[in-house]
Symmetry: none
Subunit: 308 residues, 5 copies
């Protein structure tokens, strides 16, 4: 148990030892064990975008076990997936890596401006499958956001009481937010704050752009001269907006990049801005496994994995 | 235990000793202990307005512990915040000041004419975190008001049964109310009455203006010549509308004022009108801590804190 | 226990002894004790219309205890109010008069054509506060009526199971009913029938006018020559429509009348038509207490109160 | 919040902020506030020994409010009593002093060799009455001890989950223990250990004598030369046996002493041995109030109360 | 994940992935990680024998954190203790080693011929404290055994449903068993079988002697010539009796041995007989920590720990 992991655990002083143990478990797994940094492999795209869009480019990915094995072999801290994918792999690979069960999901066969994800698994499922955490997506900005906040509240309270950690995907979307606004720095920082206020132990947001979406917020950013010029500065502001850095905030890689160097560049900015790591899905599983492991290891090296 | 606190407790004759003890605890804490007056620090703006708009001007406020400490050091009666902020500070500062857990919240990434807050915490959370009261916001005038009244009813019944007090933020807003109407004296008095009828032990409303919004009410105010010319008179009418002064009614400071004297002027009017105190957020935490403590102490002095 | 009270109780043969005892308690209280007639004081106008419109003309009424005391001192059979008003008075005046807890309420800050009241108290609250009955308002004719019928069903089932009586305020309102139609004789008789069918022990309706609202009903009233020419005849028809007089039906006085004699005239019609009494709010509490007691006693005298 | 209180709270790292806040509340009340020492007034003798044996010598003690007031006026940290005594005083004195509700009791009208206390109140009662802790008596050595351990387990789990602290009276008694053995140093240390293992936050035991009861234990005490010659040494050993001093252990005064100096002598030994204070019933309430306050203050002075 | 661990997990084909993950976690921790062998540190002697008998010889052991740290530093697979000991250490050392919460305990202040342990913790406690397994002691041979079997059944069912493993201490004791019979080979083998039949994932028994206790069994052992001459043979028979070696069976070290070599000799016999390891309490914690670590490492080396 490193000092850094102990320090991070100290931020969660209202949580029981069970939840702390599961946070420790995720931080003490894989190539980044002990650094307080995290790279998590999430594979919910089969549900969120459809199977061919997700797996056709690397058909090994149709097999649920492929991803769990990729996470283990590449040295990720944890693997996150919906119920079905975990059901199909958790028994055969019990105890190999911390698991995060995504408790809600959304598909694109019905695609609304103000999206609402459906609850697709339970806290009991997470215990039964041996998970370390539940995952839940909220869409701040959706007209249905209050329904998701309320559902998350109930699930998070239950999860915490049985010693699980809570990972919140906070993705601004909705009829009052522009496309550019979904990654605007003011909006992403707000989304991180909302997740933290709702009790998330780990917050996942998209990498923020320099755009400022909300008129009232824009004024404040300008008058107080919040530094948001570089990606690292924007990451730093999001981390600050997550209880002054006292919550674990990780950033998503988004769609498959053409050049790996772009992902590495982002990882360096996350690191330099004090971010806690990356959650990388499509950029890793949409290529052959050996290549994916090398790619993930390169990202982990940026976060300090190589120094262990 | 002063005579005044005993007198105020006697107004809550249907409540159990647990709820009375928590009301007493709030009245017997801080610089105003024993006076029956209250200054409460509420910090839900991170959720309600976003982190930068709330904390950029005084970045210490990004840290959840900052506000609890400010409330303790300035001698407030209680500190109110959403789940995440309390989770992040209540363990380290257990027992230092009465806590109020805000059970619902609203953000401005989706901003509707008829707002509905989402439930973001539970009565069990309040007990677990060692709170003295739950807080809940209703928006009388919203088409969704009956949903909030009903949810409040359930939460308040549960809270009272386990000895917690109930603090209601009653903020008129909705498609049938003009902007000026949100602080119209008839509307604010009505909002206070609704909160009292719903079982609130402590009612928080905005300071009322001289405007009269509702035609039917306007006639009555004019024919019966209710004195509403000065702010103190309007405060007195709101207090009267809260069971003839037999419920604790406190008033919010609203947005950051340019001049402190304006806040002091308001506090004097609240005091002279028989109000029970202030709930002051942005005007206190959006400035350096030492300055904030002096500012809050000045407000407390107006309410009689200096005489103890 | 008079023969008349026994007779009335015999109409409620499916109810348990607890509910019957509470009906008896209401019938055996006050100046009308034993007559089978009732005058009830209801004070929910603070919530329904706002505090100033309700109490400014007689400011003593801002104090919740005022009304309970008025009901006791004038010899009413029962006192009905929302949660907050009972909370604030029931402890200090425990056991002095049968109480009816209004379980739902509506305010006019949002005023819709098809109204829906919010549930504002529970059956457990009624037990805890020592009430004899729950009260519930339905708006037959509102597009939301089925939601209220369903909620009433659940609450009434629960209330009966714990020995409470059920008082239903049945007020036709909605987008398909004209203003005049809200008190049309066919509509009021229909509203009474609906309340009775929903299991009400005591039904409260407005005094019916001679207007006939519904075309299909109009034909029948005309071809069968139902006598509805006088107010007493219309009262008799409403009572007949309430299970042939085997449910207690009482009539509301409506807004404050200019002349007391108008109220007395109505009470005589209710008596002559076989009605069971009056529920009188604004006409009693919107005047000084001594005057209100004399006024209420005059109404009770009409119902036979003076003969005891 | 003193450093010492913070240090003590740090020993309870698996507890939620609510329980910690209630422990803090007890440690921060009265003349010993902030010292980490405690003097608690317990009055369950009316149930345990009968009213005349308990109160005839000072008949003011028949009134349940007398004892709560004595605890407040003398500056005790908390007041402990069975359900009835708290019911009769908690409403009138809400919030004046931390309360401990004794959840089980035993009378002497049936007096068995292997005693079993009856559950006489619930955790819900404790919340409703505004208590800071539950109290529970176990009789290690009784053939019925496992029934009490199991009941305590359930009550303690529930209490902790709602933020209450758990105080365990651990009194060895039973058919296999001699009279002298009930206060034997090996037996008292064992009783303290059992209470700690069962999850007690505060442990109350009798002052231990130098006798060694159990043959197996006697050998160990002798071969390892545990210092138990003086009362202070024995107190130190009991504190050590309570998780090496990381649980609050307080000692009971027992029956009314002839000379106050004997009690003071014991308090000095408790202090010198690192004990956390005294729980003093009969020696305080079986004398006139003024005298009792002076007596209790003298005890508190020994624990350091005078230095504040 | 080694092949051996996978093989062992395959024996638990009816268990959910959560329980398998917790079994894997225990097998993959410490110096014996991956070997399928286990050395577990259990410290319930403070409750079972009393504090001085347990800790006086090495007073560091009075501190609950000492043992958890010893288990971590010596490379044990897991640490087992009652509620209080885990409460006092699990928060500070969250996630450092798999924990086993002992759900029942027995003290010797009342020592009966037919013992019954008291339930002292719950499955919810185990989750809250972040445990991998529950532990439970049964006394086959006690007249109270069926009560313990039934309680174990309920707790084990609940534990398995939430992904915890079940460790059963199976210690024959009772009025119909001789002292020598408690470790008779027929009796120990029988006790292991009972634990396995009750659903234990891990079985803990005492090392068997050559004595044969039961007349009917004696005949069979003799006629079928079961090899039980050496300790290794007897271990092999116990393992065979535990579902032909398809359940993890570990053996207790018993009281502190005079010579370490005796313990090593036993460990070699356990290894040679196909046993899965040792559960070593007093022999490890009743000596200074450095010495204890060397001692435990020697035992682990026997089981193959040195080869990793």
């Amino acid at each position: 148990m490193t000092d850094r992991v102990r320090e991070i655990l100290s931020w969660y002083g209202s949580d029981n030892p069970g939840t702390k143990a599961n946070l420790a478990r995720m931080m003490n797994t894989g190539r980044l064990a002990g650094t307080g940094k995290m790279v998590i492999l999430p594979v919910d795209q089969g549900f969120e975008h459809g199977p061919a869009r997700s797996f056709a480019v690397n058909p090994d990915g149709y097999d649920p076990r492929y991803h769990l094995r990729l996470a283990v072999e590449s040295g990720c801290n944890a693997y996150a997936a919906p119920l079905g994918f975990l059901e199909a792999a958790a028994g055969e690979h019990a105890g190999e890596i911390p698991l995060i069960l995504k408790l809600n999901n959304h598909d694109v066969l019905f695609d609304e401006k103000d999206p609402l994800s459906a609850q697709t698994a339970s806290v009991e499922d997470a215990l039964r499958l041996g998970c370390s955490a539940i995952g839940y997506t909220i869409y701040p900005g959706s007209s249905a956001s209050s329904m998701m906040y309320t559902e998350l509240r109930e699930l998070a309270e239950e999860a915490r009481s049985v010693g699980l950690a809570v990972v919140v995907w906070s993705y601004p979307r909705g009829s009052q937010i522009s496309k550019e606004g979904e990654t605007a720095i003011d909006v992403v920082a707000y989304a991180a704050q909302i997740a933290a206020q709702l009790g998330a132990h780990i917050i996942k947001v998209k990498l923020p752009g320099a755009h400022l979406e909300q008129a009232e917020a824009k004024k404040v950013y300008e008058t107080t001269a919040v530094p948001i010029g570089t990606l690292a500065e924007r990451v730093r502001h999001v981390v600050q907006s997550s209880f002054d850095g006292r919550r674990i905030v990780i950033f998503s890689g988004g769609a498959k990049k053409d050049k790996d160097e772009d992902v590495f560049e982002e990882a360096r900015a996350i690191r330099d801005g004090g971010g806690f790591g990356s959650i990388i899905g499509r950029n890793s599983f949409q290529r052959p496994k050996g290549e994916a492991i090398r790619f993930l290891n390169s990202v982990m090296d940026i976060y300090g994995g190589s120094t262990r």
